[in-house]
């Protein structure tokens, strides 16, 4: 089963998030990640949802999302085969005793990640990037003692040459 990136434009109102989450939950779908934020229009929010499930059931969920009154448009980037730029930001807190510290910093540099906090025993690192870059980085970090990982969930933007002129609409 493939992971799907589903982008949903919604009215920026209370209660919308739980309606959307409930539709996924009702079909027993786990939401891998969910990122919500205001768009260029403050009355509208965009939710970027990553989920996996049977194709036809996912298609049904997308249709049901479109049926919600507060939903403006839904687009399954994966299903449409759209070329998009996908990014996620991750914060990692890792044990960094003096003996390991320089090794960790070297990896941080190679990945163009950033150290955002330093204490006697730990380093906190910020990394953004694609799934594979983040996965590779986290794999390396697991050679040390990871204390905490915090992820934003993936967001994505469609490359311009494809989306230009085409407006996303609710009933396509």
């Amino acid at each position: 089963m493939k992971k799907h990136i589903i982008s949903v434009l919604v009215e920026n109102k209370s209660g919308v998030l739980s309606r959307i989450a409930a539709l996924f939950a009702a079909r027993g779908f786990n939401i891998d990640s969910l990122a919500v934020g205001e768009t260029e229009d403050p009355k509208i929010s965009r939710m970027t949802i990553v989920s996996e499930g049977e194709e036809n059931v996912l298609e049904q969920v997308v249709k049901q999302l479109r049926r919600l009154i507060d939903v403006i448009s839904v687009s399954d980037y994966t299903k449409k085969g759209l070329d998009y730029v996908g990014r996620e930001l991750v914060l990692v807190k890792v044990d960094a005793p003096p003996s390991k510290r320089s090794e960790i910093i070297e990896i941080v540099d190679i990945f163009r990640a950033k150290t955002v906090d330093v204490s006697i025993n730990t380093l906190s690192i910020e990394i953004t990037g694609t799934d594979s870059k983040i996965q590779a980085f986290l794999d390396l970090m697991h050679n040390f003692k990871v204390r905490e990982i915090v992820r934003t969930g993936k967001i994505a933007i469609v490359r311009e040459n494809q989306s230009s002129g085409k407006k996303e609409s609710k009933n396509e």
């Binding site: 009154i69 507060d70 609710k170």
Partner: protein
Amino acid sequence: MKMTGAKAIVESLKREGVDTIFGIPGGQVLPLFDALYDAPFRFILTGHEQGAAHMADGYARATGKVGVCIATSGPGATNLVTGIATAYMDSAPMVALTGQVTRKMIGNDAFQEAPITEITKAITKHNFLVQDARELPEIIKSAFYIASSGRPGPVLIDLPKDVQTEEIEFKYPEKLNLNYKPVLKGHIGQIKKACELIHTAKRPVLYIGGGVIISGASELVYKLAEKIKTPVTMTLLGLGGFPSSHPLSLDMLGMHGTRYANYAVMEADLIIAIGARFDDRVTGKIDSFAPHAKVIHIDIDPTSISKSIDVDVPIVGDAKEVLKDLIANVKAPDTADWLKKINGWKKKYPLTYTKDNKLRPQYVIEEICDLTKNKAIITTEVGQNQMWAAQFYKYSLPRTFLSSGGLGTMGYGFPAAIGAKMGCPDKIVFDIAGDGSIQMNIQELITAVAYKVPVKVAILNNCYLGMVRQWQELFYKRRYSASDLKRNPDFVKIAEAYGALGIRVDKKKDVRSALQKAIKSPLPVFIDFVIEREENVSPIVPPGEALDQMIGGMA
């Protein structure tokens, strides 16, 4: 104009053309009830909020208008839940108003607080928790529009008490700013593709559901059926969408459908589905449903299409709009051989039952049908009574068969009958009930009596939860676990205690005169028909079997 939120609600309801409201007051809706005190609506105080919701539903299904009910916060609101879910499953337009604790108290487990917008999210088309009294007019206008347009459904508006008392400047919006815009016109390219399939079909079947009735498309279905000489089968909620007496009618299909409808579907090479959703009670074993058929599916709700079966030509749109275009473009296929075959089945396997001197439920329904000339509004409870009412009353008009098809709610029929009678006072309204189901909202007798709503309830009293017993007989070795109702109360006395008329009939020969007496009476009437206890609904497609694997009904 300056006014309180409560007055603004009443003013908005007036603008929406509301004439009847069902409900029960309580602490958190007192300001609204105060405003209703001199409002120009009929307010119907019910015995239970579930009754109010079903009455609003029955009123809506019988008239096509939006039904309105009101309950207080907490238990009042939760008592509406079954009624809302029932309306949701069958796409009945309803607006439910609930009181809520003051905005500051929400989330504090205040007295009589329940998070009703959370509770009803999955069983409403939409709901609102009003946070600002100034939004009331826009929210109420939206609620009525959402409830009644597209695929209709219930909308709930939760009204914190202090929103009802806040002063606002009232202005009713002319237009709504909603993203929600249902597609009405069908795609003409798809309609032409559908026409091509129809032209080459040899064994087409029209399969129509509740959407035809909601859309007001029955006359167009009639035209289409005659134009393309294609037989019509109906779902439970589609009954009345095409006259049962028409030679092209196959009556109901599915689990308790006719043999001829189910055979036709299984042999069809084209299914034209209109406003129906291929429910599992209709399709039987899904993989073997209509194995030879291509499928055209017309529905206003895209989520209904290709949900359970693959569709060859989907057409999203309002049945009425799509049918207009379809009829204009379609030419008749040659169906002469097919109709001959179908008429053979109709002759060989008519719907029937044992005709002897015993008091059988099917006979009671045939007599009701005869006395009301196929034109009464029939509501049903759930169970065998519901299936017999679907099989043996021959419906001729849309909006005359009201039944909880999707949710299967026992206790629906009686309050729905009261609501329907209020909306259509010139119609004879019968609830065809079971002895189990009637006890689930029997308290609404007081509502029927108090407001002089002369609905007639035909209790098909088998002293069983009959449908449960039938399944136990067929599939659980006659182990009648918790389905015997010999403990039943005296329904005649109950009716009389409330001030209604009660009649008991235990002989076949007394059925007709009792029905005549009931119809003539100005009172609500309970008729306790003491029927053959172990009569079964037949035919039946056993669960998980294909439609042509019916048991019974071989005449």
